[in-house]
């Protein structure tokens, strides 16, 4: 079985996000980059399918030189080869352009199942998997917590509010991974060492024949409004403090 897992490199959830003064994005100095956690579920599921059915897992990622580390992380977990789409013009690409670049790269390789994370934790757009499926003209199974493959059919579970759907589709298809799908493995040290020698193809937009035009553009990035400081209520005793709280809630917060 030929499995593809798309991964995005994102800032660590604990990283300190500083917006550039000109609003053109975030200042990425000092940021620790990690694999998007939802993509990690995709990689793990890809590896599980490989263990079950045999075959190859290819990791595809769009981004500058630093994303190689993330691709290597997936290779260390057990994936077989990587494709990095490195083009300065794609560095601030929108979801459509990113999906188009991924589609162009994946078209050139055999693929029975394609995994994406259901969204990336940096821009939260949640579109790439779906657009990718459209561009490749494949069925898309989104926000999935269980994958079962038999022959050329796949059954997935998708939780929705108050219920869960069992969706069946033919292969090949695009599956976007949700938390709960699996527990991503910790790479073994021999895995880490072998990953350094696994094949990694680097391609640019021109080679893939992808337009970097895009359909949407982030006009401006601003920091979220800072939270006003909390207030410590002072008073002689609990009753006095409560009275003070009531007064503030009525007069300042205007909620009662």
């Amino acid at each position: 079985m030929n499995i593809v897992a798309c991964v995005k490199q994102v800032p660590d959830t604990e990283a300190q996000i500083r917006v550039k003064p000109d609003g053109s994005g975030i200042d990425d100095s000092g940021i620790k980059w990690v694999m998007n956690p939802y993509d990690e579920y995709g990689v793990e599921e890809a590896l599980k399918l490989k263990e079950k059915f045999g075959g190859d897992v290819t990791i595809v990622s769009v981004g500058p030189a630093r994303v190689v580390e993330t691709i290597r992380t997936a290779l260390a977990m057990g994936a077989d080869k990587g494709i990095q789409i490195d083009d300065p013009a794609l560095n601030s690409a929108d979801a459509y352009t990113t999906a188009a670049a991924l589609a162009a790269a994946i078209k050139g390789i055999p693929h029975d199942v394609i995994f994406c994370g259901q969204r990336a934790i940096d821009d939260d757009s949640g579109q790439v998997g779906s657009i990718l499926a459209e561009l490749l003209d494949l069925p898309q199974l989104t926000i999935v917590t269980k994958v079962d493959i038999e022959g050329t059919t796949v059954k997935v579970v998708k939780p929705i509010e108050g219920a869960q759907l069992l969706i069946e589709s033919s292969l090949p298809c695009v599956i976007t991974a949700q938390k709960g799908l699996n527990e991503p493995r910790y790479a073994s040290l021999p895995g880490v060492m072998k990953a350094k020698k696994k094949p990694l193809d680097v391609k640019n937009a021109a080679a893939l024949g992808v337009s970097t035009e895009g359909k949407a553009k982030v006009a401006k990035t601003t920091a979220p409004p800072s939270r006003p400081p909390g207030k410590i209520i002072d008073g002689a005793d609990a009753a006095a403090k409560a009275a003070q709280v009531a007064k503030l809630l009525r007069e300042e917060a205007k909620v009662i």
Partner: protein, 703 residues
């Protein structure tokens, strides 16, 4: 053979081989047979010791090794640390030594010096000699009875596993042999005295006393009994010698050998893995991946159970017992070594040895994973083992295999390691927040001012844990008040890596260590203070493996010194009864027992008490060896057990010198619903309180 007549007044003595004059040739024959059986057994064992294991040098520095051999092998200092078993063993061992010397004296006189015309067992020397022989013989007998009583009547838990004694027939046979030698020896002596009746033999007070029991027996019968007993005595003694290599008696060879080959490295040292790039497997997954010495260790184990007696995992109901672990490895070795020895023989001296295929996984089947992961690395077992067995490095070796080679270990520990990888702290809090605690109190980083005497290596708990930050703050304020010049690394500081290393993730540990060493060296730092004993131990003893050579102090050492020099003033009384809980990484790892106690005693009003388990026999809080980051779902929680021990000591306050211990004790107190009556605090917090300077303006700030 005619002998000189013995008489009072300087010619007291006895005829060696009395009533057994013609047995000499037979005795030689049987002795030869016994020695041959003994020799064959040792040879076979030798083949097994050599059969497997990686190379390791444990015979360097002979002078130091001989010292250890004399102190703990011959004089048995460690064995005596436990009074009852120490005396029991001492009586048997030293008694037997004297008896063997005595027998050697007899033999030397009879076979060598007397035929040459010099009989030295005469007169006063003979009398004192007789007295000593009887005295030490009696001690051996007392020792044997103490052992029998202990093993079969008292049945302490440590001579078993989970309440079930692990006695084997061998244990009884050995005691019966020793007892048999001494008892038959006394009976022979008594019969000889009864028949020959020399007036000075009350010096042989045991034999002389027993001889009174034979009154009325005719001399012919007595001599016949003597002959029979003489042979019984001889056969038991020779049987004992022959039995040595096939029984627990082998410890007479393996334990001294193990002392001689003991690690001369600092306590807790783990040899770093040097080759990450080309190795196929890391850590110890198969028995042969241990070093030969680590394997030999298990053959020195006598199942005495001292290790188990204070093992926090064992005592709180986890499956781990250091004794069981070592014994299980030994059993497996007994199965595997002959296969390896045969394979070696088949390969010849030049050929390549075909490693016999293992029928089971050592890690997982021989050693259960719950045992492997229950260890807190507290070092109780190694500190108290009277055979110098090194348990902890074996456990870490096997953990390395599970983590590095198989990547099969607890998910919560995987998360911890990812956190350490991504944010250089086990909590996974943003690395940029590492120095936030220091902002308000005016502590400078080395980047701001590198010209300081000490680097305060804060560590992860001191930087990210809420309580830990309070300890860091208190300690920094103490240093400021005492006018000590220091700085921190700020966000350039990284996790020390101790939890990674002790949890088997040597690769991550080395990455963290090297990053820290580079930063610290970059500032030309010479002296470092750490408030966390884990960082303290890592920086002091583990970092030198990677070129990080610093003078490292724990904050209790620094505070004790400041108090001694009068640089801080403890003016405000602190009331209450305090019990100091020894952190393993301060106490057993670094022998820091006195300084924390000295500090507490210097605080006015403070009363210090001790928990029953303290100092070198202290009980771990449960957080070492990466256990801090793991679920504890088997048995009782270790920190709760330790809290109960503090409650038994009637302490109102538990003083600690370690942030992990602090967390564990605070949680334990909560768990026991004792928060109203008890609390736990770091020594720095207590000292800062006693200095009563909270309201004073920090130095350097305008009033």
């Amino acid at each position: 053979m005619e002998h000189t007549t013995f008489s009072l007044g300087g010619n007291e003595g006895r005829q060696v081989f009395w009533n057994a004059e013609y047995f000499e040739a037979l005795l030689f024959l049987f002795t030869f047979v016994a020695l041959a059986i003994f020799g064959y057994g040792v040879y076979r064992r030798w083949q097994m010791w050599k059969a497997m294991g990686k190379p390791e040098i444990r015979t360097d520095n002979m002078k130091e090794r001989i010292k250890i051999l004399l102190k703990d092998g011959l004089l048995q200092f460690r064995t005596f640390k436990d009074i009852y078993p120490g005396l029991m063993h001492g009586f048997i061992f030293f008694g037997f030594c004297v008896l063997i010397f005595g027998a050697a004296f007899d033999a030397t006189e009879f076979h060598i010096t007397e035929p040459l015309g010099w009989a030295f067992l005469r007169g006063k020397f003979y009398l004192v000699f007789s007295l000593l022989m009887d005295l030490f013989g009696l001690l051996v007998l007392i020792g044997v009875f103490m052992a029998l009583d202990r093993r079969y009547l008292q049945k302490p838990d440590r001579l078993g596993y989970k309440g079930k004694p692990d006695n084997t027939p061998d244990d009884a046979i050995v005691l019966l042999l020793i007892g048999g030698i001494v008892i038959t020896g006394f009976l022979i002596e008594a019969l000889r005295i009864y028949v020959t009746n020399p007036p000075w033999e009350h010096w042989s007070f045991v034999g002389w006393t027993i001889s009174k029991a034979f009154v009325g027996v005719d001399h012919g019968t007595a001599k016949a009994m003597h002959k029979a007993l003489w042979w019984i005595h001889t056969f038991i003694a020779l049987g004992f010698i022959a039995y040595i290599p096939y029984s627990r008696l082998l410890h007479m060879i393996t334990v001294p050998a193990n002392y001689y080959m003991t690690s001369l490295q600092p306590v807790g040292n783990i040899e770093p893995i040097r080759d990450f790039e080309t190795a196929e497997s890391f850590g110890v997954g198969q028995l042969e991946e241990f070093t030969w010495k680590q394997i030999f260790d298990s053959d020195a184990c006598t199942k005495c159970g001292r290790c188990q007696d204070g093992c926090p995992a064992y005592l709180t109901g986890k499956p781990l017992s250091p004794k069981k672990l070592v014994q299980d490895l030994k059993t497996y070795w007994l199965e595997r070594a002959p296969q390896f020895a045969a394979a070696k023989k088949a390969a010849g001296p030049e050929g390549e040895v075909q490693i016999p295929e293992a029928q089971k996984a050592m890690v997982g089947e021989v050693i259960d994973l719950h045992e492997l992961w229950a260890c807190t690395n507290c070092m109780y077992c190694m500190e108290n083992c009277s055979a110098a067995i090194e348990h902890v490095p074996k456990i870490i070796g096997m953990r390395q295999y599970k983590v590095l080679t198989e990547a099969d270990f607890a998910p919560e520990l995987q998360l911890t390691y990812r956190n350490m990888e991504n944010n250089s702290n086990p909590w996974g809090i943003g690395a940029h927040m590492r120095a936030d605690w220091a902002k308000e109190i005016g502590v400078k980083t080395l980047a701001e001012d590198p010209n300081v005497e000490y680097l305060f290596y804060v560590g992860c708990a001191g930087s990210f844990d809420d309580r830990g930050k309070k300890v860091s703050t208190a300690f920094a304020k103490i240093l400021q008040a005492a006018g000590v010049s220091f700085g921190i690394l700020g966000t350039e500081e990284g996790c020390c890596g101790d939890s990674a290393m002790r949890g088997g993730n040597e690769y991550l540990y080395q990455t963290l260590a090297q990053t820290n060493i580079e930063v610290i060296k970059g500032y030309g730092v010479k002296k470092i203070i750490a408030t966390c004993p884990h960082g303290y131990n890592a920086l002091k003893k583990d970092y030198p493996h990677f070129g990080g050579e610093f003078e490292v102090y724990h904050h209790t050492e620094i505070i004790a010194d400041l108090i001694a020099k009068g640089r801080i003033n403890l003016k405000k009384p602190v009331d209450g009864l305090f019990a100091y809980h020894d952190s393993c990484f301060l106490g057993r790892y670094n022998q820091i027992y006195d300084q924390p106690r000295k500090i507490l005693k210097a605080i006015p009003g403070l009363q210090l008490t001790e928990m029953e388990r303290n100092l070198a026999k202290s009980f771990c809080c449960g957080a070492g060896g990466a256990r801090m980051w793991m679920e504890e779902d088997i048995g009782k929680r270790i920190n709760v057990a330790r809290t109960e021990q503090a409650m038994e000591a009637k302490a109102d306050h538990v003083a600690v010198g370690c942030p992990f211990c602090l967390t564990m004790m605070v949680d334990g107190i909560k768990d026991k619903e004792m928060s109203e009556k008890m609390d736990a605090a770091d020594i720095a917090e207590i000292v800062w309180k006693a200095m009563d300077m909270e309201d004073a303006k920090p130095q350097g700030e305008a009033a």
